[in-house]
């Protein structure tokens, strides 16, 4: 009875484990995702054609401009109608459509799986949603899961037919260890020379701030996004009193007297971490989105669509 009362007051949290084997999305939601596209301020291309308009002129469907013919131009691009009327050889130019590199940097540290593991499942579903949007738009998508000790990598792929393999990869990931975001960012920059969007999906519960990681990515001409996962369970404990608390990542142990005031303070600190991340992102004009595990991924995707900062 006491426990249920504390739950009602929001001082303790209790939830069941998350089924990690269920499909991340149903087919209906995937159909809705097909209509979306990743918004990028900076189009970086691998050189392959895609469905994304680029500033480069070349082969494409969208007419862009005329220019004078110079020897060596493709004579098929000469506009003969203009030549007949004006007597000038002009070549039609088109916007070249390129693909976009989408890197999903997924935090697989132990803090993501702490408690009931809802946060980690939420992160994988969000990664899957973004991956599906990217694959549907013929963008190149890769997933990197880092846990501090290793960097699990799903190779860069294009096309929706790779989605199931990507989903299996995401479901196979586990949360463990203590990961530092700037290490993962450094590893990503070292492996991928072609810039693109980097969606950082993390709870950002780490001693180092996110600023250094964002600087690493931006200096390599990547366009980072930050999707910060929050779980109220992080600032709640099922019991109160004098507890021996263990940090799930570092293994550090401390004896702490936990009371209602301590819970309130922990919540405040959790909010402060989010606020600090938002501030760091705003300073660098990096899109930041708070992703609560209490809100479904579908709703979050719709929210991102409405904000038009990440999806459009």
């Amino acid at each position: 009875m006491t426990f249920s009362l504390l739950q009602r007051l929001g001082l303790v949290a209790k939830s069941g484990p998350v089924d990690a084997t269920a499909p991340l999305f149903d087919a209906d939601f995937r159909r809705r995702l097909q209509t979306l596209a990743v918004v990028s301020r900076r189009v970086a291309s691998s050189g392959l054609r895609g469905e994304r308009r680029s500033r480069q002129l070349g082969a494409g469907l969208e007419f862009a401009d005329y220019r004078d013919y110079v020897p060596g131009d493709d004579v098929r691009a000469v506009d003969w109608n203009v030549y007949r009327r004006l007597g000038r050889l002009l070549v039609r130019q088109f916007e070249e459509q390129r693909d976009l590199g989408i890197h999903l940097l997924l935090d697989c540290s132990a803090s993501m799986g702490a408690g009931s593991g809802k946060k980690f499942m939420h992160a994988r579903r969000l990664a899957a949603a973004l991956a599906y949007v990217g694959l549907s738009g013929l963008d190149r998508v890769t997933v990197l899961g880092w846990d501090g000790a290793s960097l699990a990598r799903f190779p860069m792929v294009r096309g929706k037919d790779n989605y199931l393999a990507l989903e299996r990869f995401l479901l196979g990931l586990s949360s463990s260890g203590a990961g530092h975001l700037h290490d993962a960012a450094g590893a990503l920059v070292a492996r991928h020379r072609q810039p693109g969007v980097v969606a950082v999906i993390s709870d950002l519960l780490q001693s180092a701030g996110i600023g250094r990681s964002l600087d690493i990515l931006r200096s390599a001409r990547f366009e980072p996004w930050v999707l910060q996962l929050t779980d109220p369970e992080d600032a709640a404990l099922p019991v109160m009193g004098e507890l021996l608390l263990t940090d799930c990542e570092t293994g550090e142990e401390r004896v702490v007297v936990v009371g209602p005031a301590a819970v309130v303070e922990a919540r405040r600190r959790l909010s402060a971490i989010s606020e600090a991340a938002r501030h760091e992102c705003r300073r660098r004009r990096v899109p930041w989105q708070k992703v609560s595990v209490e809100v479904s991924v579908e709703d979050h995707v719709m929210q991102m669509l409405r904000s038009r900062t990440m999806l459009g």
Binding site: G115, D203, D234, L245, T246, E253, G259, A261
Partner: protein
């Protein structure tokens, strides 16, 4: 070593029980619930307090247990109340001397010193153990033993309520000697003397003979002059000359100036300025007291502007017997030297007759004949 409070076995039993409880609580405290959290920094230093890392927590907890056990040990020691260097030889014999002199009527807090002394005496009685014996004596100018069974605590307490202060001064030597006599042959003897802060130290001449003396002074030393005693004395060779003796005590530590005035019902007899440097006890002697009778009062009046702490002891009264002059018959042929010598004695009523002259009427206590012996027939007829 004597255990005044609990016995050794009681102490050990109580200590073992209390220590068991402490150790049990300590062991329970060590079994803290463990919880894994996503980010420890959210909790460390929050309101309610982080108690530190368990690496240092164990020695700290152990130190805490040792501290608690130490406090328990001190509490038990207080309950046991050990007295080093004293063996339990039997019951305690105590004489409680309560100063009932006039100085004890001065104020001490909300009560007088005498009432405070009675309260302290009742505490001594309350602390009696079975077999202990106590005698209560109010000591002032005289001694007033409380009539009660010395082993009956209730009777002693009741007797305390019957004691009252007196107007006299404390005769400490007499009181201590009385107490020593009462305690003669008793085991573990002690005297508890409850007196005022102004009282002098006990005289060294009192033979306490191994009796422990606990002197407890009540109140603080006050700036007070008291006329402690008054008396008249005569000497065998000069029975008609009376000397007046007045004892004056000054309990303060500074200087006191005033007038000492002696007066009778007929008027002032003596008056002189007096300056005292305390603490002191002085005797003023008036060599020739006039031939007066009735009430004689010695009064001290301060003239230095200071306030007397106790005015009740500033005067003292002596009741003199009626003074009668002795009738002396001098039969002399104009021996002026003899007559003048006799006339100097104010206690004599001298009647002179010439040898062979007629005798005056009345009787004479003394007849002096210078030269011719008196006629026995006439002398017999005259006396």
């Amino acid at each position: 070593m004597t255990l005044i409070g609990l016995t050794l076995w009681q102490t050990l039993g109580l200590g073992a029980a209390a220590a068991s409880v402490l150790v049990a609580l300590y062991l329970l405290k060590l079994r803290r619930p463990r919880r894994t959290v996503a980010y420890l920094s959210l909790w460390v230093g929050t309101t309610g307090g982080a108690l530190g890392s368990p690496r240092y927590g164990r020695p700290r907890d152990l130190l805490s247990l040792l501290l608690q056990l130490s406090i328990l040990g001190l509490l038990l020691a207080a309950l046991v109340d050990p007295k080093p260097g004293r063996r339990a030889e039997g019951p305690l014999s105590t004489v409680v001397l309560i100063d009932s002199s006039i100085a004890m009527q001065s104020q001490h807090g909300d009560s007088t010193r005498f009432e405070a002394a009675l309260k302290r005496a009742s505490q001594v009685v309350e602390a009696m153990r079975p077999g202990d014996r106590s005698w209560i004596v109010a000591a002032g100018e005289g001694l007033q033993p409380a009539q009660a069974n010395p082993e009956n605590r209730a009777a002693l307490l009741a007797a305390l309520t019957r004691l009252s202060p007196t107007d006299g001064t404390l005769r400490m030597g007499q009181a201590l000697q009385y107490a020593a006599d009462v305690l003669a042959g008793m085991p573990r003897r002690r005297i508890v003397l409850l007196t005022g802060a102004d009282a002098p130290a006990p005289e060294a001449g009192v033979a306490l003979q191994g009796i422990e003396l606990y002197l407890e002074r009540i109140g603080v030393q006050q700036d007070n002059v008291s006329v402690a005693a008054i008396g008249v004395r005569t000497r065998p060779l000069e029975p008609s000359r009376r000397e007046l003796l007045i004892d004056v005590s000054y309990a303060g530590g500074g200087r006191a100036a005033g007038d000492l005035v002696v007066s009778s019902e007929q008027g002032a007899v003596f008056g002189a300025p007096l300056e005292l440097s305390g603490p002191t006890h002085e005797r003023i002697v008036l060599r020739q007291l006039p031939a007066i009778g009735g009430r004689l009062t010695a009064q001290w009046r301060r003239t230095d502007g200071q306030q007397e702490a106790l005015t009740a002891d500033d005067s003292i009264t002596l009741q003199l017997p009626p003074q009668s002059r002795r009738r002396v018959l001098v039969v002399s042929d104009s021996n002026r030297y003899l007559e003048a010598a006799l006339a100097l004695d104010s206690g004599l009523e001298v009647t002179s007759v010439l040898p062979g002259g007629s005798l005056p009427s009345g009787s004479f206590e003394v007849a002096l004949s210078d030269g011719d012996p008196p006629d026995p027939r006439r002398a017999a007829a005259g006396s």
